[in-house]
Every structure is written in C-alpha cells, then in structure tokens.
Subunit: 309 residues, 2 copies
Amino acid sequence: MQIQFLGTSAGQPSKMRNVSSLALKLLDEINEVWLFDCGEGTQNRILETSIRPRKISKIFITHLHGDHIFGLPGFLSSRAFQANEEQTDLAIYGPVGIKAFVLTSLKVSGSRLPYKITFHELKPDGLGLVMETDKFKVYADKLDHTIFCIGYRVIQKDLEGTLDAEALRAAGVPFGPLFGQVKNGHNVTLPDGREIIASDYLSPPRPGKVITILGDTRKTDASVRLAVNADVLVHESTYGKGDDRIAKKHGHATNMQAAEVAREAGAKRLFLNHVSARFLSRDIKQLRYDASTIFPNVYVVNDLEEFDL
Amino acid sequence: MQIQFLGTSAGQPSKMRNVSSLALKLLDEINEVWLFDCGEGTQNRILETSIRPRKISKIFITHLHGDHIFGLPGFLSSRAFQANEEQTDLAIYGPVGIKAFVLTSLKVSGSRLPYKITFHELKPDGLGLVMETDKFKVYADKLDHTIFCIGYRVIQKDLEGTLDAEALRAAGVPFGPLFGQVKNGHNVTLPDGREIIASDYLSPPRPGKVITILGDTRKTDASVRLAVNADVLVHESTYGKGDDRIAKKHGHATNMQAAEVAREAGAKRLFLNHVSARFLSRDIKQLRYDASTIFPNVYVVNDLEEFDL
C-alpha cells in the first residue's frame, strides 16, 4: 500500500505544485488505485507516474471547489482512450452536485465513455460508513469548510494470520485438506491420533491500516474522530503558524492546527498538503519545523512524492 | 503580434504536449491577448509563459470536445485570484453549449467571479463576421469535424501610414495642429502660402495581418476560404502522410491535406498543431518534411513555442 501525492497546492496551481489530487495505491491488496480529489491537470500528473488510469476504480471527492474537481471530466474522457486495455467500471463518491457536473461536462463535450460510472452522492446527513468491501471500509464525516466538505477514513480490515507451513510439515501434517483446515483456524486430529492446535501454527491476525484523508477544513472535532489511531493522516495546511485568524476566515487550517489534530487523534504520521503557493521552499521547511514541535512525525508533501504505508 | 502555442496535442495530453490552446498576443496592438481553445491544464501552461491572465480579454472556442474546453472553468476561476490587478471583463465565443458548460462548472464549484463574462454563442447558420473592433475583425466559418467546429479568420485592419515628422519639420511646418492635420491625410497651407501635400509626408497605409486559426477538421473548402492570403494558417495535423482514410473517418486531417489547404489558399506560413501522441520526435520531422513537399513554409509547432507574426 502506497500513497502518492499528485497535486499539493491550495486553490491554484503553481509551477511546482498542481491543484489537489492524491492516489492511494492498493495494488498489492486489491489490484486497484483510489483517487482522492481530481483537480485540473490530474491526468497530466498521472502521466508522470506508474499509475495506469484503468486501475483507478474509485474516486473520492472531498468537496466541489474547482481545484478539487475540474480535472474529473478530462481524466474520465482520457481513461476511455487507452486501447487494448479492459474497460473497467468506476465509482465516484462525493457531495451532491458532482454527478451533475460530470454528466454536464461529458454531455456538452459529446464524450461517450465505454465504461460505467456509478455515482454515490453524499449529503451531510447521510455520512458514516459509505463503502464496504471484503477488505476495506470507508467512513466519511463532515468537516468545517466554506462549503460542504468531507473527510474520509479508509480502514483496511484485519488481515488473516499467516500459516507456518514449515512447522506444520515438521509436525508430520501432510500437504492437503488438513493444511487448509489449520489455516482456517480449525484444530485437526491426525491419523496417528495426535491433535494439532491451529493457533500454534498461525500468527495472530494483523491489524489493517487506517488512512485518513481530509478535504479543506478548519480545525474541527470531526477531523480528530476520523483520524483516531490512524497510521496516516493527510491534513491541509493552507496557512502557517500565527495565521489562525485568516485561516478561520477562509475555512482553512494552519500547520499547527493540523499537528494538534494528529496529536489529539493519536495518529502515527502526518502529511501536510494543500499548501499555499505563497510559501517558498524555505517557508516549507519552517512549516514542517513549526508543526513538529507539536507532532514530530510530520512532513510537508510535494507533488509526485510517494510513501509506503 | 505574436502567436504562442500552449497545447499542441490531439485528444489527450502526453508528457511533451498538452491538449489544445494557443495565445494570440496583441499586446503591442491593443494590449490584449486572445486565447483560442482552452484544454485542461491551459492555466498550468500559462504559468510557464509571460502571459498575464488578466490580459486575456477574449477566448475563441473552436468546438466543444473536452480537449478544447475542459480548462475553461479552472482558467476562469484562477484568473479571478490575482490580487492587486484590475478585474477586466472577458468575452467567450464558441458553439452553443459553451455557456451551459461554463456556468454549470462555476455554479457547482461555488465560484463567483469578480469580473463579467459575455458569451457569444455561435450556430452553424449564424457565422460570418462574429466580432469587430476599430482595429480587428474576426470571421468564422463551419469546418468539417465530427461535431460542429469553427475556424476563425482574424483580420487586423489596415494600419495608418506613418508620418515622416523630420521631413515635415525640415519643410518648415511647426509642431502643433498642422502636424496633426497632415497625419490625418489633409493637405495644409502654411502661413507663407506654401501648400503641403499630405501624401508626400505619409507612408501609404500598411495592410494588417491575417491570422487563420482552425479547429479540428477534415480537409474542406471552408478552410481554404478562411485562409485566403493569410499571413499564418494554423491547421491541425492529427494524422500523417497516407493516413487519409482514418483521418477522414475520425473527422481529422493529415499533414499533407493541411499543406494543400495552405497552398490552395495562398497562405504565407503554415503551422501544424493538434499532433497525435503517437508521433515521436523522428516522426515529427517526417511530418514536416512530407508537408513541405506541398507547402514549403511549414512547421510543426511544440508547446510553449512563440512566433513573431
């Protein structure tokens, strides 16, 4: 599982940072990639990565501001173009209005996609568990921005324990159905009468990862709830230390507030994105340093950076 | 007057070429820049130029395919952001539908622009002279694509002759109102009775430039009419020599057909754009070479290249 940041700028692109998008790469787990937000030019950024658009099976939109959605029609259209690849369907989760935007754009431009899009439009009173498969769950909660904005908590379900096959074989268990029973946690009795206790040969289930990805927001309790014990929290940092007032006015957070959220939630790692184009590289170092006084394991991410989770 | 190509790819962006847009820089003439098409990521490309978005006063859209319009909402939104600059109004010309697309995008994203946009929606039966100011005229005609697509002919009106002030002064004409009268083409009588013939001191009016910018199209008579005696013809070249059949099928032209249009129209210079991502740099040289056998003054343009007109 990796996270790759495709656009880390706030509001407008700069030469160094494009507008918002990030990819959660679940290739090892489910052979899919999930996109969070899709600002203009996301498809151009994807060209600079190893991500194959067809692998993108779900897109989660945090809110409808242009710097988070204007890349959707182009991405969806270009995704249809790749010849010789299977046309895989796609699901889009986001605030009510996202469907109208996408369908109007595709209709006006005469785009007919060879795959199906399922829209899951979310309302403030219809959040909570918004998606569940056998391996993942996604919870959503309302943040505190100038328009309805969503934070997502992606929970990987606990992973089965792995079987110590060598030890099992050494104990005289023949390959075959008995192996499978032990792997599924059942004790078995061998032909010679010995009982094999499954838990002796199975590592305990491993807890799945928790990844919290927030949209634009002021500091708010919902952020803390979404990020409780998260392995990774991705939080906006449109403003820096001391900018609390202007951040609040514009519905955003400072690096310090993001760090407070991470600390209060007991998150393990904090990535700051949605960084104002005002910040130069020296300021970025300062953003990180200041935040680290509250939450040490913090990093201000750049476009195209990828992290193992 | 300059032309700068912002995106020269066909259909989808590649690493080297973004989707369609070009800027006609009329800064010396009227202190404005006109944009032709605005594919996704045009605002990112503009960041790499000296163009100030506020100077863009008119946008001409050739057709509604996504690779020609999906950059409009983002460009229009970001154009509003620039602090400390005058908020200048903007006009958009393009096929019926462009207004719905722009307004839906701005509405869904909650964007409220601090400047005014005037839409001039064009229909196949409402083309011809679509814009006229004291210095420029723009004609439009219908091309032959898979959807309604427009070609534009930008005509700079003839420029007044310049006054040979030094010669006039040497003839004993004092600075002042008499100078102005001669500049305006009127003969004047000096206090000493001598008559000054204006045309002796004025260079003849200089013909203005003609710039023809076409959208996606098969080879068609309308292209030739739009490009008659043009100083510059910008023509798509989605396909190469020998690809006539597939070009026709998809509503596009080859480099050879573009060269034929330039030759038949008596244009002076041909720029080929809208180049398929299939073409590598070696192929691009071949595209140019092949076209030059029909029309020698041809060039396959790249993103960000600028030419004096």
